[in-house]
Symmetry: C2
Subunit: 480 residues, 2 copies
């Protein structure tokens, strides 16, 4: 940004405006609890406040920043509020925001090693570090046949795993859907919608996705899986891929990896394990049980952008056999040819995912791991789980509420005992209050409230206050 008058932001202005944005952010976090957590705008309201026509003349940066407060903030749902208990968290942190800022400014493309070696090599190193930090199976390290890569989301990781499995099943000959042999994919009835999306995208077809029954803790039943595989083989179909979840979105259910893994080995199926939110729990040795059996998986992913203080997007995807993935996704046109690639001595991550271009995403993850240290990560993850367990205890002790299932980690699924209608009204009223935000699911056919603890700055008093408000609001509804 050299000094010139022609429309660019000069370096002097960049410093001034940059400080202003940093201050804006600090002020925002300072005041974040004063905003309604769930945005209260009506459909079309934000758009109606924007000009119909794009500006012909450039505007001053101050004016643009001012509009963030006036036009944008009312339409923001505050995912970084400590009173955000909805969905799963997407927790950011100071070091992560600043790491992302550097990455934007460097503006490098990491599609090939050569197009920015540091972008590739830092990513490899940090993903190997995470094998240590989470105690993941050694086969996911880059030193052997496996390795890790940053994807945008678990949806994309699941798709890539499925594509590699599809190609392996058709012997890398056709790059086609394999529907001649009708490939079959398995997941539990509780699996994330992304597996259905992946099956559709890969051309396997949703009619070839089998949703396997779960047990009373909503975990996949291995006996039902075995039975379905047998049926499919008898029908002349080709079982191919199992998607198991460590912490389902509905209820945080943990599929039994050791049994599922054994079945996959016996049957020659690709096992992908999705630990999108819950995987981070394994930073604490006491929660590593969630990954028992993971050594039997072909691929695994978890999202530091959910619960590891790293702003979206950042999904870590590991494969045991990187050759399978690369064979599936690699294409080398002339304009990307280069000596480093041809030497075979480097990783070109473009062959590990759908897009060609890629940001320097490992930078923010590196910043988070270094700033917090493993010690700091453990401190906060343990704290979140403890907060959720306390909350679950209050539910258990209450007269009007009950747990739907015991919480394995940081997600509590509960209901008011008064039936679906009061639960639905309760969620709506609480969210409309703006004081907290929580969402629902259906378990055993019943409307169930989800209380998800994992926002970076959620402290004991936020959880206590939430429980207070839930009880009060329920009281109002009971007496209405």
């Amino acid at each position: 940004m050299p000094e010139e008058k022609t429309f660019h932001m000069s370096l002097e202005e960049f410093r001034k405006n940059g400080y202003a944005v940093i201050d804006w952010i600090a002020d925002y976090y300072n005041n974040i609890e004063s905003f309604p957590v769930l945005s209260q705008v009506k459909p079309g309201q934000v758009r109606a406040s924007l000009p119909d026509e794009p500006p012909v003349k450039g505007e001053a940066f101050d004016a643009i920043l001012k509009d963030i407060n006036e036009l944008i903030l009312p339409g923001v749902t505050h995912w970084q509020s400590p009173n955000f208990f909805a969905f799963f968290p997407a927790n950011a942190s100071g070091p992560s925001i600043l790491g992302e800022l550097l990455s934007s400014a460097l503006g490098v493309q990491g599609m090939l090693w050569m197009t920015s070696p540091a972008c590739t090599e830092l990513e490899t190193q940090v993903l190997d570090w995470l094998v240590d930090i989470l105690g993941l199976p050694e086969k996911f390290r880059s030193g052997g046949a496996g390795g890790g890569v940053i994807q945008d989301t678990a949806s994309s990781a699941t798709l890539c795993a499925l594509l590699a499995a599809r190609e392996r099943a058709t012997d890398y000959k056709t790059n086609s859907c394999g529907c001649d042999g009708r490939l079959i994919v398995y997941a539990s009835t509780q699996a994330h919608s992304s597996i259905e999306k992946a099956v559709k995208i890969a051309g396997i077809g949703s009619e070839n996705l089998r949703l396997i029954d779960v047990d009373d803790k909503f975990a996949l039943r291995p006996d039902a899986l075995v039975e379905q595989i047998k049926k499919d083989r008898q029908a002349g179909l080709a079982p191919c891929f199992v998607h198991a979840t460590v912490g389902t979105t509905s209820s945080n259910a943990m599929d039994p990896l050791p049994e599922i893994g054994r079945i996959c080995k016996e049957e020659g199926l690709w096992l992908h394990v999705d630990g999108a939110m819950s995987g981070t729990a394994a930073v604490c040795p006491e929660y590593r049980f969630i990954h028992n059996g993971l050594e039997l998986a072909d691929s695994y992913c978890f999202n530091p952008h959910k619960w590891m203080f790293t702003n979206f997007d950042c999904d870590c995807f590991y494969v045991a056999d990187r050759a399978a993935l690369i064979k599936t996704l690699s294409i080398l046109p002339e304009y990307l040819r280069n000596k480093a690639t041809e030497s075979g001595a480097v990783i070109d991550y473009r062959d590990w995912h759908i897009p060609l271009g890629r940001r320097f995403r490992s930078l923010k993850l590196w910043f988070v791991i270094r700033y917090y240290g493993v010690e700091g990560l453990r401190f906060h993850i343990k704290r979140h789980v403890d907060l959720a367990r306390n909350f679950a205890k209050w539910i258990e002790e209450s007269e009007n509420f009950g747990l739907v299932v015991p919480p394995p980690l940081n997600l509590v699924c509960f209901r008011h005992k008064g039936g679906d209608s009061i639960n639905r009204q309760l969620v709506e009223k609480l969210n409309r209050s703006g004081k907290l935000y929580l969402t629902h699911t259906t378990l055993n056919g019943q409307y169930t409230i989800r209380f998800s603890v994992g926002q970076t700055h959620t402290e004991e008093h936020h959880v206590r206050q939430a429980w207070q408000r839930i009880q009060e609001t329920a009281g109002e509804l009971e007496n209405a």
Copy 2:
């Protein structure tokens, strides 16, 4: 970021560290020409400088930032250097970097309208603005049956277009690859590798991708397309999708959209137009000719992250019939159900692309458009094209060099007349010098040098200096 001692970055520290990062960035841009444009590290060098083990204790932010200079910068290829003439640009700018910073800090998920209405509505508005700014066909506006969405890259946009076309061709019944009827996909021999990747991912199989011959300007030959479609129909196959390019990666060739569009209408094929880099040229009315015939397309994409001063990732993807796209990608599990979605009054962009989660990417695009104004964007795009045309003129006037094809916009393809070997050596020697960075392709079977003008801060003297160095280095090689 409330004030506490337990590992988090306090707000006070965030302000201090944030200013330090802003200063680092300003200094980096101030000194950017002092770094070798293409990183000179050897494979493994960056990794070897990093600790094997993750840190147990957290570290001070200063120490981390210092390592950017010492460990990371040597491994960075400086895409934001004004001496970057390689590939296509990925140009960033001050307003864009600060817009992205705000987006990281807000840390919202835009998967559903409800999860942050402003994230959806600003995106819709800005993508409608771009229909005005580029003079795109009205059918891509959100007011009618069409609409636009931000994707990460053109690779993903192409894949989504192909998926929608595949589903339409199989009547939305199977979500499967359609290989019963053997769907056939067409692109020119010069099309980007992403179409082959998309065909593989969608399970259509690369054997069903037809690469159509090009004319002497490397543009798809409509007569060859018609002939191939006829052949495929005669063989009982199902022609389905044509991928046309406005500005190919190799040589910036412009496929003839009016003729291709007519063929697609007659044959009932989906036409997707990829204007990833060159689309931005249409901000200037005098270059809008590149989009002649676009009104016949079913979908279109271009990347503000290439040539519109908006840092990666930001691809704008438009469809004429959004229902086709949504039918293909929509899945609605219970935990995402909400009143706004059910009312049908809002857009849920998660149904418009592969991932579920999504960042607030329209913020940086909004910042760029407002800060520069349409006037500022035009000024810089015209300047880049003029610089490339000057460069092409120098090539034409030189004794030892010649153009391989006349440059339609800002990419110049040329060769030294001394044959492949001297051209290859020339590129390698120039890139090793660190003074500039350019890449190559193959055209007419010959090694061809690409000179791509589009970095935000490239000025006349950079282009002039580059030409000087190219001539000098060629002279050294001629005399060696």
